[in-house]
């Protein structure tokens, strides 16, 4: 346990924890859209070979009981999920080619942190569904 933001085996990836440990899809989308192709490609190339180990490390915990450093690592993996298709399909361009205006496509779930299963889904639906049902 050092001063790293991330669990020890991934301490060398702290730079990503500082900028990409983002808890909601909205934040991850905004960050990706504001990044350059070079930034996305670098992130992809650094994280891809480590991803199996990262997820195996995280899977020793229950989804809703992640320690703080593992929680940050988890959000980095979700950010990788956000950016990987742009590197793999669009050569790193931070925008889908020939697409609808992304800012107008509202991710209704996009403000939530994590998604921990049925109980949380239901709780969220009944307590915080203003965005969900606005027509």
């Amino acid at each position: 346990m050092g001063t790293s933001l991330l669990p020890t085996p991934f301490a060398d990836l702290d730079v990503f924890a500082a900028s990409w440990s983002l808890g909601t899809q909205r934040e991850r989308e905004n960050k990706r859209a504001a990044s350059s192709a070079g930034e996305l490609k670098t992130m992809y190339e650094v994280l891809l070979p480590r991803l199996d180990a990262m997820l195996e490390h995280l899977d020793q915990y229950a989804l809703d009981k992640l320690p703080a450093d593992a929680q940050r690592l988890f959000y980095v993996t979700l950010s990788f999920a956000e950016i990987a298709p742009f590197v793999e399909c669009y050569n790193g361009e931070p925008k889908v080619r020939h697409s609808f205006e992304e800012r107008r496509l509202i991710a209704v779930h996009g403000e939530r942190r994590g998604q921990r299963g049925r109980a949380q889904w239901l709780m969220w639906t009944s307590n915080n569904s203003r965005r969900e049902f606005s027509a």
Binding site: Q25, Y44, L48, L51, D52, L55, E56, L58, D59, Y61, A62, L63, L66, F74, T77, L78, F80, A81, E82, A84, P85, E88, C89, Y90, V96, R97, H98, S99, F100, E102, R104, L105, I106, A107, V108, H109, G114, Q115, R116, G117, R118, W121, L122, T125, S126, S129, R130, E132, F133, S134, A135
Partner: protein
């Protein structure tokens, strides 16, 4: 392992000659008169899907839907008896809107104008200073109901409180075809929405054929729904059930996942891995359990597209707002993630799916603008676009805009 091979070279116009082969008029997408008739003769005459029962799980839970197609706002509320009911969101006193939040939970609805109060079964239970009303009986002044029925946890509503046809009869054999899928277990929802400046059918049509896959999704899903045996995403099955329609979309069993997709495959479910057991599918969907099955695409008339595949399901719904404005809602449903790895896999899949939906919605507004010019009066539909042909045929059967036997 031996697997059933789909025949992807059928000519659907030969299987369904009654749908014809002529170009289809664009007028229903741009005519204000046609749009008004759709409201009266379709959306006010049939059952419409309005939400999942899980959205209001407990007595007192409610959601409000602004149903422009009915020119009304509707409260759907679960009563103390556990039953879901629907009511026009309008106070019986002087017509004020009753529920202002889009969802919530309550013991009773109280109007913010003069505090008239209604229970969750729509009965008027409180009127301040009641004795000063004239010849007034609370029992005659409950909320105005709409009809509600459930099918497989899908809540449908009908603006006529006493519809001539039950939901089961309306869905008919199509409801049986899609019954038994574990919709209620796959409840982790990722939902998108937007208002599109196009007719609702321009949006629906774009999700009703596989012919666009190579072009629009060439980058997001390069080898998923096409393959050596089916390079143009031909449909292995097309079936019609009265106003409803369905097809199977091909899935390439030799699809090569990208490096990130391969990691997602190792840790969780996927649209493209199709990792769930085919046993989840109803018996009538992909009855041979062919490994070439991508997903089942069903259109519940008029405005719901329901896709099922092993491991997840997703919907598109198109709500007409004006002849050239549509509310689109896209929703993907997964098993609630148990592990961080499963959650990662879902995130990756949803990002790819979202990107594909950004590609799908790219053409719609430009199409509407071009159609509005009137330069092109007809759509040229390919044999594989037969679901669109069926859609316009069924719609016109309800609307009756064109004189019978006209050759439009």
């Amino acid at each position: 392992m031996a697997t059933a091979i789909f025949d992807v070279n059928k000519r659907w116009s030969e299987v369904y000659p009654e749908l014809g082969t002529a170009p289809v008029p664009t007028e229903p997408c741009i005519s204000a008169e046609y749009f008004a008739l759709e409201g009266e003769k379709v959306f006010r005459k049939v059952w419409l899907y309005v939400g999942r029962q899980e959205e209001i799980p407990n007595p007192g839970d409610y959601m409000v839907r602004d149903l422009k197609a009915w020119r009304t706002s509707v409260i759907f509320v679960r009563g103390r008896d556990g039953k879901i009911r629907g009511f026009h969101n309008i106070c019986s006193h002087r017509g004020n809107k009753l529920a202002w939040d889009e969802a919530g939970s309550c013991r009773a609805f109280s109007c913010k104008f003069h505090s008239w109060t209604y229970d969750t079964e729509g009965k008027l239970i409180g009127v301040p200073d009641e004795e000063y009303f004239h010849n007034f009986d609370k029992t005659d002044n409950g909320l105005v109901p709409v009809a509600t029925e459930l099918w497989e946890g899908f809540l449908f509503a009908h603006v006529d409180p006493q519809p001539s046809q039950s939901l089961d009869d309306y869905l008919g054999e199509f409801g049986q075809r899609l019954s038994g899928f574990p919709y209620g277990d796959l409840t982790a929802r990722y939902a998108y929405k937007t208002e599109l400046k196009c007719n609702w059918k321009v949006a629906l049509d774009a999700f009703s054929e596989g012919y666009h896959v190579n072009t629009i999704h060439g980058q997001s899903y390069p080898d998923t729904f096409t393959g050596k045996n089916n390079p143009m995403c031909h449909l292995p099955e097309v079936r019609f059930y009265g106003p409803h329609r369905s097809c199977i979309v091909y899935g390439n069993p030799n699809h090569k996942p990208s490096p990130a997709a391969a990691i997602a495959y190792r840790f969780g479910e996927s649209v493209t891995k199709r990792s769930g057991s085919q046993d989840q599918l109803p018996p009538e969907v992909n009855p041979t359990r062919s490994a070439e099955f991508g997903f089942d695409l069903g259109v519940i008339f008029p405005n719901l597209v329901l896709h099922i595949l092993p491991g997840m399901w997703f919907t598109h719904q198109f709500w007409p707002l004006a002849v050239d404005r549509t509310l689109w809602e896209g929703r993907a449903y997964w098993p609630p993630a148990r592990t961080p790895g499963e959650r990662f896999a879902q995130e990756f899949n949803n990002v790819v799916l979202r990107n594909a939906w950004l590609e799908d919605t790219a053409t719609m507004e430009a199409t509407q603008e071009a159609l509005s010019s009137g330069v092109k009066t007809h759509f040229n539909l390919q044999d594989q676009e037969i679901l669109i042909r069926h859609s316009y045929k069924v719609l016109e059967d309800y609307v009756g805009f064109y004189p019978v036997n006209s050759n439009t």
